[in-house]
């Protein structure tokens, strides 16, 4: 898998404190190919769940796309920042520094951000603030629930014996998640929810970020998994963000049966194929 590829460990950022692996084809790069930047999923380091980002980066590089996987400050091997930025602002600053490093070392100004879960949320938040971003690949981004989502969710839970046991014993994870969201709404300063979720949980805010990205000409590939608790059907993103005019900027995919972290190798292969197909449609 690593034959014909170059994998280079890199340190970058204002204090050379951000750690990444830059994967690229050994053969002369095609300058029209964009460079992908892979963001952390929560606090999992740049390797990703089930090592999925290593495999993905190598496969994409074998197809001619350079890929930078790196750890945001305070995650994985990267040191925390010293400039007292909030966690979300620090993450956005880190992404900017990663893209600066790519531009400086390979002169590429055609960047695609890729992230799963919080990584997808970071990608959306950052995308419209930097003209070098030409696309985002969003794996299970935060999408506001819809009435149809709740109906699907409740029906699914009611048909699950474990849910009944959890409710009966007050150990239900769903109950805890919803209680956290209520608590976040009532006492936002005391909430333990990730700031990215809070930033994106408001529908109007989410719509603003997506519309801004579309207005900047950024193309979006959104891939949703069936087993995630965030969305339960393919069109939820469209219905939840009804005020966003996506035009033809959005490609929407739904992988039936996949869990949130793409644990199955079959689902990871399917995801890779989807990404490669989408990349092939990017303008030269």
């Amino acid at each position: 898998m690593t034959q014909g590829l170059s994998e280079q460990p890199v340190l970058f950022g204002s204090h050379a404190a951000l750690v990444g692996i830059f994967t690229r084809p050994v053969a002369a790069p095609d300058a029209t190919r964009p460079t992908l930047v892979v963001l952390n999923t929560g606090i999992i380091h740049r390797v990703g769940h089930h090592r999925m980002f290593v495999t993905l980066a190598r496969t994409l590089s074998a197809s001619g796309y350079p890929v930078l996987r790196f750890d945001l400050s305070g995650i994985g091997d990267s040191d925390p920042r010293t400039d007292r930025l909030s966690p979300i602002d620090a993450a956005l600053a880190d992404i900017g520094e990663a893209i600066d490093w790519i531009e400086k070392t390979s002169q590429s100004r055609r960047i695609i951000l890729l992230g799963l879960c919080s990584g997808a949320d970071h990608a959306v938040l950052y995308s419209h603030t930097d003209e070098r971003i030409m696309g985002v690949i969003l794996l299970d981004p935060s999408i506001p629930p819809t009435l149809r989502h709740y109906l699907h969710f409740v029906v699914k839970r009611l048909s699950n014996l474990k849910s009944w046991i959890g409710l009966g014993t007050l150990r239900s994870r769903t109950l805890r998640i919803w209680a956290n969201y209520v608590a976040a709404a009532v006492w936002p300063r005391r909430s333990s929810l990730h700031p990215t979720k809070l930033r994106l949980v408001n529908r109007h805010t989410v719509e603003h970020h997506y519309q801004s990205a579309v207005d900047k000409g950024i193309r979006l590939l959104a891939v949703f998994t069936e087993e995630s608790t965030r969305q339960t059907y393919r069109e939820q993103m469209i219905e939840a963000l009804a005020n966003v005019n996506f035009g033809d900027a959005l490609n929407l995919e739904f992988i039936a049966g996949s869990d949130h972290t793409f644990m199955s190798e079959t689902d990871r292969t399917r995801l890779t194929d989807i990404i490669l197909d989408w990349l092939a449609t990017m303008p030269a």
Binding site: M1, T2, E7, P9, V10, L11, V19, I21, G42, I43, I44, H45, R46, V47, H49, H50, R51, M52, V54, G76, D77, D79, R173, D259, T261, F262, M263, S264, E265
Partner: protein, 253 residues
């Protein structure tokens, strides 16, 4: 901190070297050996903190990924225990070359600890001390645990089977690797050790079955409970077990 690749052309390994903090003696060096599979993913944060704590205590550290894991070359299905023991030996030589130390400390967690103990018995003259954090003591028991992954994990899924390969929380466990793991028996290795050793058990505060009452000459046993950073814990995501990390640093003192 320096991330780099080392090893051979066919076996390129990723490592992160953390020098001893400025102002410390810097006269010792430690190699950290990671667990396998999802345990590697979740333990990464704690092992990094262990390296930082060791650095502050004046110990140069090298953390590295076994072949076919993490950022190292190779596919996950290419994993084998003999190869990983060879990786530890390569990493020892790399650490010796970088620091100029002739003897190093080996510190491993879970499967990484078991492999480190095996290497320590083969190369006693290279090893100054050994830290075994919840090593795999019985291969068959570990395999049983992996097979029943669903029972011990809440979010990261269960073991499924593709032909002869077990997919354990997304990581392939091939028949060959299973056979090698099945042959693991740590007790004879422990009784053979001629190196000062800390056996740190942090998930349950009891001496592991099979070790109680055994003559374990140079081994100090430390017991804690409720600390298992190699397991995904949605209630304590990202929490570093500072007590266990400090215990190791104090023992190395």
């Amino acid at each position: 901190m320096t991330p780099f690749y080392f090893g051979t052309q066919g076996r390129r390994l990723f490592g992160i070297y953390e020098p001893a903090a400025a102002g410390t003696s810097g006269r010792r060096a430690a190699l950290l050996c990671s667990p396998w599979g999802s345990e590697y993913i979740y333990a990464h944060r704690s092992l990094r903190q262990l390296a930082i704590r060791m650095s502050a205590a004046g110990i140069h550290t090298l953390r590295f990924d076994f072949f076919g894991t993490g950022d190292s070359a190779g596919d996950m299905a290419e994993a084998d225990l003999a190869g990983w023991q060879h990786d530890i030996e390569l990493a020892i030589e790399e650490l010796q070359a970088v620091t100029g130390m002739s003897r190093v400390i080996l510190a491993g967690m879970r499967l990484g600890a078991t492999l480190a103990a095996s290497v320590a018995t083969r190369r006693p003259s290279d090893i100054e001390g050994l830290v075994l954090w919840n090593p795999i003591i019985s291969g068959p028991a570990y395999l049983e645990n992996l097979r029943n992954a669903k029972a011990s994990m809440t979010l990261a899924g269960e073991t499924c089977f593709i032909d002869e390969t077990w997919m354990v929380r997304g990581f392939p466990l091939t028949p060959a690797l299973r056979q090698q793991i099945d042959a693991i028996e740590l007790l004879p290795v422990l009784t053979d050790l001629r190196t000062r050793t800390l056996l740190l058990m942090t998930d349950h505060a009891v001496t592991p079955p099979g070790l109680a009452g055994q003559p374990l000459g140079k081994i100090d046993i430390a017991l804690m409970s409720g600390v298992a950073p190699w397991i995904e814990d949605p209630e304590n995501m990202g929490v570093v077990p500072v007590g266990a990390v400090q215990w190791i640093a104090d023992w190395l003192g």
